[in-house]
C-alpha cells in the first residue's frame, strides 16, 4: 500500500517535469502534502491514539492548506506574476533529466538495499523527490518557483524520514515543520520586497552582489 503511494509521489514529480504553469506546481505541492498525510496516517490504523495524530494533521494543515493559501493570496494575487514558470532550460530535456535521475536513484537504492536494511521504493521515491526539488530550483528562474522547489524538497525529506522509520521524536518534527513554515513565510515576504524594489519576480534582479 505504502509503495503505491510512493509511486504516486513519483508520478507527481514527473508531472512537475512536464507542466510549465505555476498553478500546476502549487497543485502538485498540495497533492504531495495530502499524500504525505495519508502515508503518515496509514500505519496508525491498528494502534490508534489522538496523540500520534497531531503530526499528520499538522502536516496536512501546513503543507496542504496554509502554505498554498499563503502563496496564492500573498504572492500570486498581490503581484500578478505571469502564469508560466520561466525556464532557461528546454522542458523536454528537463523531463529527460528527471527521468534519468529517478532511474539512477532507483537503481542505486536497490543496490543499497542489498547491503543495508532499507526498503528501496520509499527511499528511492523520497530521494528522487529531493533531487527533483533541487532541479526545479536550479533550472527555473522565478523566485516563487524556487520556493515551491524548496518545499518539494522538504516533502522529499519528510518522505525519507517516514520511509526509514525515523525515531525522531514528533516534538522535534513539529518544531522543524514550524521552522520550515517560518522560513517559507520569510521567503514569501522577501519575494514581495524583491518584486517591489527590483520590479521583477525572478532571479535576474538579484545580481548586485559580486566581486
Amino acid at each position: 500500500m505504502e509503495n503505491v503511494l510512493n509511486i504516486l509521489f513519483c508520478l507527481t514529480l514527473l508531472y512537475l517535469g512536464t507542466t510549465t504553469r505555476i498553478m500546476a506546481y502549487l497543485n502538485v505541492f498540495v497533492t504531495q502534502g495530502i499524500l504525505l498525510f495519508v502515508i503518515l496516517i496509514l500505519p496508525l490504523f491498528n494502534k490508534f491514539s489522538a496523540y500520534t495524530f497531531i503530526l499528520p494533521v499538522m502536516i496536512l494543515a501546513v503543507k496542504a492548506v496554509l502554505i498554498p493559501i499563503f502563496i496564492k493570496r500573498k504572492i500570486m494575487l498581490e503581484l500578478e506574476v505571469r502564469k508560466s514558470i520561466e525556464s532557461d532550460f528546454q522542458q523536454f530535456n528537463f523531463l529527460l533529466l528527471c527521468v534519468f535521475t529517478m532511474i539512477t536513484v532507483f537503481v542505486s537504492a536497490n543496490m543499497l538495499a542489498k547491503y543495508t536494511l532499507i526498503d528501496s521504493i520509499p527511499f528511492a521515491a523520497a530521494f528522487s523527490t529531493i533531487i527533483i526539488g533541487l532541479y526545479i530550483i536550479i533550472f527555473r528562474k522565478k523566485l516563487i518557483v524556487h520556493v515551491i522547489g524548496f518545499l518539494v524538497m522538504e516533502n522529499g525529506i519528510f518522505l525519507l524520514g517516514v520511509s526509514i522509520a525515523s525515531e525522531m521524536p514528533f516534538l522535534i518534527e513539529l518544531i522543524s515543520l514550524l521552522d520550515i513554515f517560518v522560513a517559507v513565510f520569510l521567503m514569501g515576504i522577501a519575494i514581495n520586497k524583491i518584486s517591489s524594489t527590483f520590479a521583477v519576480d525572478d532571479i535576474t534582479g538579484l545580481d548586485e552582489l559580486k566581486d
Binding site: I131, L134, I137, I138, F139, H146, I203, L206, D207, E208, L209, K210, D211
Partner: protein
C-alpha cells in the same frame, strides 16, 4: 643578578616607549621617550658588557607555556656580540631620531606611533638575539619586521613610501615562512624548541640540505644577499632616515646572526656549502657595489653598498665554512673573526653615512645627488665627517674598514697556504674579486662625495644649513669610532676573540685565548703606520701652509678659455660613473634616452638615464605578476546566482559520495 639589571634596562626602554604616549605635548613626549630609552639602553649596555667580562648564568627561564614548553633566554657569546652591536648603535641613532622628529613636530604631524614603535623595536631586537626558544625567536623576529614596518610608513602619504614599505613587508613575511619551515623541521628532528638542543650532525640526507637551504635563504633575505636583496634598495630610501640607518646598521646584521645560528645548529662539514656561500657572497659584493655606483639616489646607493658589505661578511662566513669542512682551526677563526669584525665595522660606518645622508636630505629636501653640490661650503664639518665614513667604507687605510678587509684577505692567504691543491687558485680569484670590489667602492664613494659636497651648488638650496648639536653628535660618535678602531683594532680584536672563544663552532677547536690571538695577523705595524700617518700629514700640511703663507690667491677656475662656467656645467654623477657602468649595462638595466642635437640651430635637447634592478625587474616582478594574473584569470566562481550555489551543493555532495564510494576502509 647582572641579568636582572639587563632586563630592568629593557623594561625601562619599553616603559619609555609606552608611557610618553599619554603626554599631550609632542615635543616633551619625544624628548622624554628618547632620553628615557637612552638611559635604559645604557643600563642594559652596562649589564651586557659586565656579562661579557664575568661569564654569566647561561640560561634564564621566563615561564613555561602550555604548548611550547619553557620560554627562555640564553646569553651566549654570539648573542652578546650582536647585543653590544645593537646597544652601541642605538645611542647615536636615537639621538638622531630625536633631531629628525623635531621639524615634523613643528609641522604638527603626529609622531607618537613611530617614536614608540621605534623604541619598542630597539628593545625587541635586544631580546631577539638572546631568545633561546624557537617560538620566542620567531615572535621577536616578526616583531622586528612589524615594528620597523610601522616606522617605515611614517610618511605614508607618499606613494613611493607605500610601494617600498609594501615590498619590504612582503619580503620579510616570506622570509618568516622560510624560518617557520626551518624551525619546525628542526623541532621534528630534535623534538625540542631550545636552540641549545639543536646539534644536527651533517649526514648526506636530503633533509639536511633542505634545512640548510631553508635556514640560509630565510636569513639571507633579511641580510640582503643577492639575489634575495630586492626589498633592500626599495625599503631604505623611503624609510625615515633614522630607520634606514638602523636597518642597514643593525637589522640586516641580524640576518648574519641568524646565519651564524644556522651554522651552529647544522655544523656543516661539506666544502660544497662553503663554496656556495662564497660564490653568492662574491656575487653580492661585486654587483652590490656596481649597482651602488650606478645609483643617483643617495639612500639607494647606500643600500646597495650595504649589499656589498654583507657580501664581504658572507665571504668571511664562507671561508669559515671551508675551515669547518676540513677542521682547520686557523681558517675557521680567521673566517668567522673577519666576518664578525666586518659586521661590527660596517654597522658603524653605514649608520654614520645614513645619518649624514639624512641630515642632507632634511636640508636640501632631495635624495638625488645630481641636484646637490657644494655642500662643503655651507656645512664644512658635515662634509668632513661624511668623508670619514666614505673612506672607511671604501676599505681604505687608516680607518676601520681597511682593517677588517685586511683580516679577510689574510684568511684567503691562510686558506690557500693550509689547503694547497686547487685552493690557491680559487682564493686568488677571491682576492682579485675583493680588490675589484674595493676599486669600485672607491669609484662609488668618490662619486658620492665629490658630487654631493664639492664644486658649487647645482640648484640653489631652499634653506641654509643650520645643523643642530644633536645631529653633529649623532654623526660624530660613529666617525670617532671609525678612527679609533682604525688605529687601535686590537681592542675590537680581543673583544672578538672573546666572542669566538664562546662560539661552539670554534670552541670545539680549542678555547685558549692566546692561541686564537696568535692566529690573527699582527696588527701592531698597522697601528704604528697609521699613527705616524696621522702625525706626519698635519706636519706636512702645516709646513705647506707656512711656506705658501701670503702667497695664495683666489681666482676663477680654468675654463679652457671659456669664461662663463655655470654650476650646471659641472661633471655629473652619471657621467662620472658611465664608463664603468657601461661594462655590465645589461645587468644594471641602464636605460638612456637622449635627443640628438642636429641642425645649426638645435631644438631643445635633453638626456636622461635610469637604472633598474635585475633581481626585481627580471625575476621577482615577472613571477609575481604571472601569479597575480593567473589568480585574476580564475573566474568560474564569481557567478552571482543563488542557483549556481545550490548546484555547487549538489555537485560537492556527488563528488564526496563518489570519493566515499571508491574509499576502501
Amino acid at each position: 643578578m647582572i641579568v636582572n639589571i639587563f632586563f630592568i634596562g629593557i623594561i625601562i626602554q619599553m616603559a619609555f616607549a609606552i608611557i610618553p604616549l599619554f603626554i599631550k605635548n609632542q615635543k616633551t613626549c619625544s624628548a622624554v621617550s628618547h632620553f628615557g630609552a637612552m638611559a635604559g639602553i645604557i643600563i642594559s649596555f652596562s649589564a651586557t658588557s659586565a656579562m661579557l667580562l664575568f661569564k654569566p648564568p647561561a640560561l634564564v627561564d621566563i615561564y613555561s607555556h602550555a604548548y611550547w614548553g619553557m620560554f627562555n633566554f640564553r646569553f651566549d657569546s654570539l648573542s652578546l656580540f650582536f647585543m653590544i652591536l645593537i646597544q652601541l648603535l642605538s645611542i647615536p641613532v636615537l639621538i638622531y631620531s630625536y633631531a629628525y622628529q623635531k621639524p615634523y613636530i613643528a609641522t604638527g604631524k603626529s609622531i607618537k606611533l613611530s617614536v614608540s614603535s621605534f623604541i619598542l623595536l630597539i628593545a625587541s631586537l635586544q631580546l631577539l638575539v638572546v631568545a633561546n626558544h624557537a617560538v620566542l625567536f620567531l615572535i621577536f623576529w616578526e616583531l622586528m619586521a612589524l615594528l620597523s614596518y610601522l616606522n617605515m610608513i611614517f610618511e605614508h602619504e607618499k606613494p613611493e613610501v607605500q610601494k617600498g614599505s609594501f615590498i619590504y613587508f612582503i619580503a620579510t613575511h616570506a622570509a618568516t615562512f622560510f624560518l617557520f619551515a626551518f624551525f619546525l623541521i628542526l623541532h621534528s628532528v630534535t623534538g625540542s624548541y631550545n636552540f641549545s638542543d639543536y646539534h644536527i650532525i651533517s649526514d648526506g640526507s636530503a633533509l639536511y640540505y633542505t634545512l640548510f637551504v631553508l635556514g640560509f635563504i630565510g636569513f639571507a633575505i633579511k641580510a640582503g644577499f643577492m639575489p634575495f636583496h630586492f626589498w633592500l634598495p626599495r625599503a631604505h630610501p623611503i624609510a625615515p632616515t633614522y630607520l634606514s640607518a638602523y636597518l642597514s646598521g643593525v637589522i640586516i646584521k641580524l640576518g648574519i646572526y641568524g646565519i651564524f645560528r644556522v651554522f651552529e645548529f647544522l655544523n656543516p662539514t661539506d666544502p660544497f656549502l662553503g663554496w656556495a656561500v662564497l660564490v653568492i657572497s662574491m656575487f653580492s659584493t661585486i654587483f652590490g657595489v656596481w649597482y651602488a655606483l650606478a645609483q643617483r639616489d643617495i639612500k639607494t646607493l647606500l643600500a646597495y653598498s650595504s649589499i656589498e658589505n654583507i657580501g664581504i661578511i658572507g665571504i668571511g662566513l664562507g671561508v669559515g665554512l671551508l675551515g669547518l669542512a676540513s677542521a682547520n682551526q686557523s681558517v675557521i677563526i680567521l673566517g668567522f673573526g673577519g666576518a664578525l669584525f666586518h659586521t661590527f665595522n660596517h654597522a658603524i660606518f653605514k649608520t654614520q653615512l645614513f645619518i649624514g645622508a639624512g641630515i642632507i636630505y632634511q636640508h636640501t629636501h632631495t635624495r638625488d645627488i645630481e641636484r646637490m653640490g657644494g655642500i662643503i661650503h655651507s656645512a664644512k664639518w658635515l662634509a668632513l665627517l661624511f668623508l670619514v665614513g666614505s673612506v672607511a667604507i671604501s676599505g681604505i687605510p687608516p680607518l676601520n674598514g681597511f682593517v677588517s678587509e685586511f683580516i679577510i684577505y689574510n684568511s684567503f692567504f691562510k686558506t690557500a697556504g693550509n689547503f694547497g691543491n686547487y685552493y690557491p687558485f680559487f682564493m686568488l680569484l677571491m682576492t682579485v674579486g675583493l680588490a675589484l670590489a674595493g676599486g669600485l667602492a672607491v669609484a662609488a664613494f668618490t662619486k658620492v662625495n665629490s658630487i654631493m659636497f664639492l664644486g658649487t651648488p647645482r640648484e640653489e638650496q631652499k634653506k641654509l644649513f643650520n645643523i643642530s648639536k644633536a645631529e653633529y653628535i649623532s654623526i660624530g660618535i660613529p666617525a670617532l669610532m671609525c678612527v679609533i678602531i682604525g688605529i687601535f683594532p686590537q681592542t675590537v680584536i680581543s673583544f672578538i676573540i672573546n666572542i669566538l672563544q664562546g662560539m661552539p663552532l670554534v670552541a670545539s677547536y680549542g678555547r685558549d685565548y692566546s692561541m686564537i690571538a696568535r692566529i690573527f695577523p699582527d696588527l701592531m705595524p698597522l697601528t704604528k703606520i697609521f699613527i705616524s700617518l696621522f702625525l706626519f700629514a698635519p706636519v706636512i700640511y702645516m709646513l705647506k701652509k707656512f711656506i705658501c703663507h701670503g702667497k695664495t690667491r683666489i681666482s676663477k677656475a680654468w675654463g679652457c678659455g671659456y669664461q662663463h662656467l655655470t654650476p650646471r656645467m659641472q661633471y655629473t654623477a652619471s657621467s662620472y660613473a658611465d664608463e664603468l657602468n657601461a661594462i655590465p649595462a645589461h645587468i644594471l638595466l641602464i636605460k638612456k634616452e637622449a635627443t640628438v642635437i642636429e641642425h645649426i640651430f638645435p631644438a631643445k635637447a635633453g638626456f636622461s638615464s635610469s637604472t633598474g634592478d635585475y633581481a626585481e625587474d627580471k625575476i621577482v616582478r615577472p613571477v609575481y605578476e604571472r601569479i597575480i594574473s593567473f589568480i585574476n584569470g580564475v573566474n568560474f566562481l564569481s557567478r552571482n546566482d543563488v542557483r549556481i550555489y545550490i548546484a555547487f551543493i549538489l555537485g560537492t555532495i556527488v563528488l564526496y559520495l563518489a570519493l566515499a564510494f571508491i574509499w576502501k576502509y
